[in-house]
């Protein structure tokens, strides 16, 4: 059964081409379009439902929400936002230089034959579920780091970061940030490795021909050419670090304060970890407060990711790769 498309059915001149639209085509393109629209609706639903469920917590009387302990919602959520940003920033300080080093090692230093395998090994790090990182961080890493925290507290306590007293369990914000760093490493590495591999070979050879050493070639060619990619890789890693839940919830012993101290037992919590820890026992308006804090996390990661995508897209318009 065939059907004429609306416009072509008024077939006035014999030379006009008849466009045949089959029902199969119509169903197929319709469902494909519908699926695409569904994704947009779903994202709207995510923000809509979170707003709907989160809003009561912001407007309600703080005394009705036991989590807030009589304070306003913003006083409660402030330290959590600080902890989220602080832990992610610490993780990035550790992970970013390391990841760039690893990416350069794989793209420019490792022998070509093993480079792909090494890339897989780093990708394996990304495949490990976050709950396993949390378990490893809480049971293995935290006790292993504890002696060095004691040492830091004894010797470097004049710095506000190491003011002490050192945590007895090692479950500090620094440990959590280190676990986060391990988790975002493969993301930053994977993206920047791809960017470094796309450096035009002619530029590299030209640099060598001018007498540059390998490092000088990297500094003057590979890094400037890949700058946009490096920045967006960092932003993607930051987005992951901001939203990571379990690794922080299982490693950190949090009290919900604002503190720059990295090694004490009094640590700020993060939004995601706080939701994971409080949600199972929450009831009534407490749930709405937790959802509202999730909404704030959503907004933060949305901004970070949009900026990353914007940088990538802006760059791809005048990239030589396509």
């Amino acid at each position: 059964m065939t059907q004429d498309a609306g416009g072509a059915s008024r077939n006035t001149s014999p030379s006009a081409r008849k466009t045949v639209v089959r029902p199969g085509d119509r169903i197929f393109s319709g469902s494909a379009k519908g699926a695409g629209t569904f994704i947009l609706l779903m994202l709207a639903a995510v923000s809509g439902f979170l707003l709907l469920e989160g809003f009561p917590a912001i407007t309600a009387d703080p005394n009705d929400i036991s989590l807030l302990a009589g304070e306003s919602f913003w006083v409660w959520v402030g330290p959590l936002v600080f902890g989220t940003l602080w832990a992610a920033a610490l993780a990035m300080v550790v992970a970013f230089p390391l990841a760039i080093g690893i990416a350069l090692f794989i793209s420019h230093y490792a022998p070509r034959r093993v480079a792909t395998t090494l890339g897989y090994v780093v990708d394996l790090l990304a495949a490990v579920p976050s709950v396993v990182y949390g378990l490893w961080g809480g049971v293995i890493l935290a006790p292993a780091l504890q002696p060095s925290y004691t040492w830091l507290a004894d010797n470097l306590s004049f710095l506000p970061f190491f003011a002490g007293p050192a945590s007895g369990t090692g479950r500090t914000i620094l440990t959590a940030a280190l676990v986060l760093a391990v988790m975002v490493l493969p993301i930053i590495t994977a993206v920047s490795r791809e960017v470094f591999l796309q450096t035009p070979a002619l530029y590299e050879e030209a640099s060598y021909a001018l007498g540059a050493t390998k490092w000088e070639m990297i500094r003057t060619v590979v890094l400037p050419v890949g700058r946009g990619g490096i920045i967006s890789a960092a932003m993607l890693g930051l987005g992951r670090a901001l939203g990571e839940t379990l690794a922080v919830a299982m490693v950190l012993s949090a009290t919900g304060v604002i503190s720059l101290n990295l090694i004490s037992s009094v640590n700020p919590s993060t939004i995601a970890a706080n939701v994971a820890l409080s949600f199972p026992e929450a009831y009534g308006l407490n749930i709405n407060a937790l959802i509202a804090s999730g909404l704030i996390l959503f907004a933060i990661t949305l901004v970070v990711n949009s900026v990353a995508r914007w940088i990538v897209n802006r760059r791809s318009e005048f990239s030589g790769a396509n």
Binding site: S31, K33, A45, L50, G101, F105, L125, V128, G243
Partner: protein, 361 residues
């Protein structure tokens, strides 16, 4: 370098000093030996004192780096010395990244093996206090919820990527979808859980925690991954194939079903398997949306459902009267999870390698 004294012959830039290729390895051995000697001989007089091998290695590497840079500076000049320093640092950063991976794998395998037994895969945690019990209920829950999430997200994701590549090129809707799929990739997993909870709270009343809610949360995380990977694979199909099909009078939808999809099916399958592996390890959304349970539950539409990642999390967070038993179960669960995820990952890569279409390049 202005070392040339008046009267001395001017150094030849082309035959300038170059280190013998064995010098770096000799320096490495020397640095490690020096550091070991330092720690051994400065050790306090204590029977229990053991030399910390990690500290020895770290100090040795510092000695090696300093020595290499100093020697290179003396013989080869500043530029070469900086180059050598960069090489050492980049190699080191790779080795540093391997350390947590190796430590993690060794721990998970050695501790997970303790409870990696028959009971673990056949029993639930019903009425278990202390020793014994297993994670069979959690494995069942993970499989059911992941399959349901796949059933939701694979058709939607695949159809969306078909729309983006085949129908919507250059349209405004396509640009919107691409942008918002990118945005969805960045949704924190716990936010997906909160969304599913809020959705089902509105649909089914407050406090609802059911398996399908967990699946919905996983689907929110899975759809963008499926869309992105399938889109890339569909774009790899050469346009000549489509045009040849049109030239034979095949309608567009049949071209997609019979030509485009079979050509890219290996890549699409790989992407879907990687997406499944990714969401299978998600804990936070299921913690919020599906809750905990100690019992078997095969009905996705009723009651709470345990999952493997949550089993690990809960065993760790709520260690009961015999902490050792709970921790051992957690490690065994972690080992099971890693094995499943790795099998999916490796399987996906094998499919990509062996079933990829021969494009004649």
């Amino acid at each position: 370098m202005s070392l040339a004294r008046p009267g001395a012959p001017r150094p030849n830039a082309f035959a300038a000093g170059k280190l013998n290729s064995q010098v770096p390895s000799l320096l490495l051995v020397g640095g490690l030996a020096l550091s070991w000697a330092l720690y051994t001989f400065s050790a306090p007089e204590d029977e229990d004192y053991q030399v910390n091998l990690i500290l020895v290695a770290l100090t040795g590497i510092v000695f090696f780096t300093l020595g290499l840079v100093a020697v290179s500076l003396r013989v080869e000049g500043r530029r070469k010395a900086v180059d050598r320093l960069a090489t050492v640092l980049f190699t080191l950063s790779f080795l540093i990244a391997l350390t947590p991976l190796i430590s993690l794998i060794i721990t998970v395998v050695s501790r997970g093996a303790i409870r990696f037994d028959g009971d673990f895969f056949t029993l639930s945690m019903r009425n278990v206090v202390g020793d014994g019990g297993g994670a069979a209920h959690a494995i069942v829950g993970t499989v059911i919820m992941t399959l349901a999430a796949g059933l939701i997200s694979v058709p939607i994701g695949l159809l969306t990527s078909i729309y983006i590549v085949e129908y919507g090129a250059g349209k405004r809707l396509t640009r919107w979808i691409t942008f918002f799929v990118d945005v969805m990739t960045g949704i924190p997993s716990i936010v997906a859980g909160l969304f599913a909870y809020a959705l089902f709270e509105i649909l089914l009343g407050p406090g609802t925690r059911v398996g399908i809610s967990g699946s919905a949360a996983l689907a929110v995380l899975m759809i963008p991954i499926v869309v992105r990977s399938s889109e890339e694979m569909l774009r790899l199909v050469p346009n000549e194939l489509r045009e040849a099909s049109y030239a034979l009078g095949v309608p567009k939808w049949l071209t997609i079903v019979k030509v485009v999809l079979p050509t890219s099916i290996a890549g699409i399958t790989t992407g879907i398997m990687l997406a499944i592996a990714r969401v299978m390890g998600e804990t936070a959304p299921l913690l919020i949306a599906a809750g905990f349970s100690n019992n078997f539950n095969f009905n996705i539409f009723d009651d709470r459902m345990q999952s493997l990642p949550n089993f690990v999390y809960y065993s760790y967070i709520a260690q009961g009267s015999v902490p050792e038993a709970y921790l051992n179960r957690a490690w065994a669960g972690a080992l099971t999870l890693i094995v499943i995820v790795m099998v999916l990952n490796i399987g996906a890569r094998l499919i990509a390698r062996f079933f990829a279409p021969k494009l004649g390049r």
